[in-house]
Subunit: 144 residues, 3 copies
């Protein structure tokens, strides 16, 4: 992973051949102290592990795809839970025949080349486990 800092709150990152996408983003957030952030990117990957969360059974199902695919869109955010940095990332992927697939991005997804922009946000975004949902969710203070 290489990067440049463009301003006090913005970095451009390029992930290289074989870089683990989610782990790199987690490591980057930790390294820069990005406790609240937004992520956006495009690129290509060679292997992906996708998750789908079933809100009824409250279980993730996972599937790996080992093929070169365009990353049509990588979207997500960074928050923290206790001492852990949590990049939450979804991807839409394009196959060689231009058909698409996508899901929740897991560790074990490896870049061909990915351009990601990380924007640090003011303040903190904190997650905590929600028993009813079965996931770590953003703790936000106001209601509307």
């Amino acid at each position: 992973m290489i990067y440049s800092q463009l301003s006090s709150d913005l970095w451009a990152i390029r992930l290289k051949d074989g870089d683990d996408i989610l782990m790199s983003l987690r490591r980057f957030a930790e390294s820069k102290g990005v406790r609240a952030g937004l992520l956006e990117g495009i690129g290509s990957l060679k292997k992906v592990r996708l998750g789908y969360y079933d809100f009824e059974s409250r279980k993730y199902s996972w599937q790996a795809f080992e093929e070169g695919m365009e990353i049509l869109n990588l979207s997500g955010n960074v928050s923290t839970k206790d001492t852990a940095y949590i990049p939450h990332v979804h991807v839409t992927l394009g196959r060689k025949d231009f058909s698409t697939l996508g899901g929740h991005l897991d560790d074990g997804s490896l870049a061909n080349m990915v351009e990601v922009f990380v924007r640090k946000l003011p303040g903190e975004l904190v997650k905590a486990h929600d028993e009813k949902i079965g996931l770590n969710v953003l703790q936000l203070s106001r209601k509307l």
Copy 2:
């Protein structure tokens, strides 16, 4: 819907089980006076109403899908028309088998859990009806 304000022009929102996604975003924009804004999010929904606009017949076709799906990407903007706040939102969705679908998001689409970031932009974005296109479109002052 719960939220936190991260800066003078940025909010993080979490939509909860059963929240109408588009209506919540419209209500949020109204509540905060976001007359020009950008929207980005990821999450999961339990029901969606998608639209496809045919520029030849100048008609929307609509279809509802009642199944849990990951929101791979929610993108859009907020503008106003007369006194109405208009969130214009497109979504890409991922099924349990990681196949995808998507379209123009309509009222009646219900969240499982959605993380959305709303950025208020300086100035205003105003839409007006365009007879030829058949849609409300952004009124922008300069030509290139």
Copy 3:
């Protein structure tokens, strides 16, 4: 293409019927001197030329689709290489039946109507050809 400047570093653009999407974004970046930028948009197109880059053969394959499709998401960035402005854009598209496709956006893709936001970033993003990858890639100064 029409546009409004919302702040010193942000523009809203509306592409009109028949505008070449990528060429318009390149022309816009040149016109405004956007040597580093982020792009995001939604809309509809009538014709698209999509690319898929194979990192093993180091060749693009291209395919054109001539049908009206929703632009579910347009994501990318602007950099420069020598004197050229390079918008790098990926799109996810939605068909009339709400199925999706997508890839790397090429010249020759024509808008029905597209709303794009261009954010100018501080500093420069420079690309150079990488022999091993076979592509122009971002030159970033630091390693992690």
